[in-house]
């Protein structure tokens, strides 16, 4: 079937969902053909097939964009809205947190909100402090939302289909630096279930629990450490919330050691929740403390050398793995 990039994968998933269901439509800033099909071209080609009413370029009005998605979802459609960059969710949190997430519960199950909120972000592009943050913890902390992020093109295709199928709001985070990653195309109709992690690499000495771009770092380091006789298991959560606790705990029970790794800042990050949960539930089998690695607790800086230093360092991951397994 050939190779596809993550950009193509997401586009194909949306395309096939729109072809199957008239209720699926896209809205967001610059998503339509007239504006080039999205700032990262993820919705390119869809306007030509489905028309401007189903690929609506919007004003720069994040609250109105998400609110429209919420309303359309309540009416039984399956909107896919785009918030161009993840930092901009800060201006429309009311619609996400007070409405999309809670309307199913507050209505006693009468008004589910089946919508996807696509957003992109990532550190290492030189976008500075207001265009780079990984803010998934904000949403993971609110009941009623799925938070998803792919680390490869095949998963992106399968996760997007499942996100559109879901009868609840899904925050779908795309890392800018991952758009060009290529996978074998898994084909039409491929789905990766929400809430199901992948063992990206099996190992027996330590479990690295991660997601998104840092999966790549973890796999690279795991490959290097294999040569030194340290067997690293890499878990790609794929769904950050609610996450696949079963897979994570089973892995840690096997290895007895764990490190959480993400690009989001370390304090109060998803890794803190996962580490605490591991320590509560795997205490008897743990051979040492669960360690956490995350972005530096400051705004993402602009200058390349600062930005690169801000990101979780591979050298730190190696050092912490070695310290955990007693080979420091």
């Amino acid at each position: 079937m050939g190779q596809i990039t993550m950009t193509q994968a997401i586009n194909l998933a949306i395309d096939e969902a729109m072809a199957e269901d008239d209720g699926v439509f896209c809205l967001g800033e610059d998503v339509s053909a007239k504006q080039g099909g999205g700032v990262f071209k993820v919705t390119a080609g869809l306007t030509e097939k489905y028309g401007e009413q189903r690929v609506r370029s919007t004003p720069i009005s994040e609250t109105a964009i998400v609110g429209a998605a919420v309303g359309a979802a309540l009416a039984g459609q399956r909107p896919i809205c785009e918030i161009m960059l993840m930092n901009f969710v800060a201006v429309c949190m009311d619609q996400i947190v007070n409405h999309a997430a809670k309307l199913r519960f507050m209505s006693g199950g009468q008004t589910p909100c089946p919508m996807v909120l696509r957003t992109t972000t990532g550190v290492g592009v030189g976008f500075g402090g207001q265009h780079s943050d990984m803010l998934e913890a904000w949403f993971a902390h609110v009941a009623g939302i799925h938070v998803v992020t792919p680390s490869n093109a095949a998963d992106a295709r399968g996760l997007m289909r499942s996100a559109i199928d879901a009868n609840d709001p899904v925050i779908f985070i795309e890392n800018i630096l991952c758009y060009g990653l290529q996978s074998e195309d898994p084909g039409v109709g491929y789905r990766v279930p929400l809430g199901k992690a992948a063992i990206a690499k099996e190992g027996s000495d330590i479990s690295i629990v991660t997601y998104g771009r840092t999966v790549l770092d973890a796999l690279e380091i795991a490959g290097e450490l294999d040569k030194e006789g340290i067997s690293v298991e890499v878990i790609d959560l794929r769904t950050i919330a609610p996450y696949d606790e079963e897979t994570v705990l089973a892995s840690v029970r096997k290895t007895g050691r764990a490190i959480t790794l993400h690009e989001a800042v370390k304090p109060f990050g998803p890794g803190a929740e996962i580490a605490a949960n591991i320590q509560e539930k795997c205490w008897d089998t743990l051979k040492g403390p669960v360690r956490r690695i995350g972005g530096t607790f400051s705004a993402v800086p602009f200058a390349s050398q600062l930005e690169q230093a801000w990101i979780p360092q591979k050298s730190d991951l190696i050092a912490q793995i070695k310290a955990s397994v007693g080979k420091a």
Binding site: D22, G23, F25, Q53, R54, R56, T58, P59, S61, T63, A64, V66, G67, A68, A69, V70, G71, A72, A73, L74, A75, G76, Q77, P79, D94, Q95, N98, H99, L103, R104, F105, M106, S107, G108, G109, Q110, T111, P112, A143, G144, H146, A166, N167, D168, P242
Partner: protein, 322 residues
């Protein structure tokens, strides 16, 4: 202006009195201490709800606010379920999980009741967008107060609605107070409807205490939206005759405002219109008496109903737990 059809007038009257009797009953229960919940009184705004809901079809959508009792009961929500929800009972529209500020009943088109000022407008656009997408011919009415006109969501929603010519009616019930702050102290423009021009939208300002103004205005607005001509901003002037919420102090309202408010009370004015149109006192009293019987039965039913079971806190979070 053409006279309102007698049958339509009776419909508006019945809906309006339903709102009023519900409001009176709620305050009575709160005063007696039989119920202790947040309640946002609608005294003085009953006619706007009655007229607006009478202008809609049964399957049209409504988005309202915590002060939404009027829209909810006037649209025809089953009142046993309404009272059940307000009293936090298992028999409520939302199994007691929403409460007075989040009444939802999709069967009667009550899609969202929001507790966040201004948040309903963008959601109303989405409901209308769905109708535009699938051509179902529905209109969405979103009700809000003058206070909501100053939050960014108002501006974003009106611009987007006009841009796409969405079938939505923005109904601003200008009760002259945003929470506890008087209109002139929170709004720089002389009115809200004038802002419609800034979006190239049709805007109208009417006396919400006069059935001969508010009802035709809502009929026109709904027709405009349904015909594909786009949204309308209707500003209905009224008075909030009580505090922001039940029990809240409203001694800050100036004496002259209170006198003006009493003189403009929509209910005696509506009654006079009905009598002028040859409805008899007995006929009108009978309507109210029947409403009271239904309300008393619904209240008793709600008081007797079981509380929600504790495991409801885990249900309806995501589909899996439904």
């Amino acid at each position: 202006m053409a006279e309102i059809d007698r049958e339509q007038l009776l419909d508006v009257y019945t809906r309006t009195m339903k709102v009023n009797r519900t409001d009176e009953k709620f305050r009575e229960l709160l005063m007696q201490g039989k119920v202790a919940v947040m309640y946002y009184c609608v005294r003085g705004q009953e006619l706007i709800s009655g007229a607006a809901m009478a202008a809609l079809e049964d399957d049209d959508y409504v988005v309202c606010t915590y002060r939404g009792q009027g829209e909810q009961t006037a649209k025809g929500i089953p009142i046993e379920k309404w009272w059940g929800e307000c009293l936090g009972k298992e028999t409520g529209t939302c199994k007691g999980k929403g409460g007075t500020m989040h009444i939802t009943d999709p069967d009667t088109g009550i899609m969202v009741t929001t507790g966040v000022v201004g948040s309903g407008l963008p959601i109303a656009n989405g409901l209308a967008m769905a109708s535009q997408n699938n051509g179902d011919g529905r209109v969405t009415v979103v009700s809000f107060g003058d206070g909501a006109a100053n939050i960014g969501a108002f501006h974003e929603a009106l611009n987007m609605a006009q841009l796409y010519k969405l079938p939505v009616v923005f109904l601003c019930q200008n009760n002259r107070y945003g929470e506890h702050t008087a209109f002139a102290d929170h709004t720089s423009s002389p009115d809200i409807s004038g802002r419609a021009a800034g979006y190239g939208m049709k805007g109208v300002k009417v006396d919400g205490n006069d059935v001969n103004q508010i009802y035709p205005a809502m009929v026109d607005a709904v027709e405009h939206a349904r015909s594909g001509k786009g949204p309308v901003l209707v500003e209905a002037m009224c008075y909030r005759m009580m505090g922001h919420f039940f029990g809240a102090d409203f001694s800050y309202m100036p004496e002259e405002h209170l006198a003006e408010m009493q003189a403009e009370d929509p209910l005696p004015k509506l009654r006079k219109v009905m009598l002028d149109r040859q409805f008899s006192e007995e006929e009108l009293d009978k309507i109210v008496a029947n409403i009271d019987v239904d309300i008393n039965n619904a209240v008793q039913h709600a008081l007797d109903a079981p509380l929600p079971s504790i495991d409801e806190i885990y249900k309806d979070v995501l589909e899996e737990s439904a």
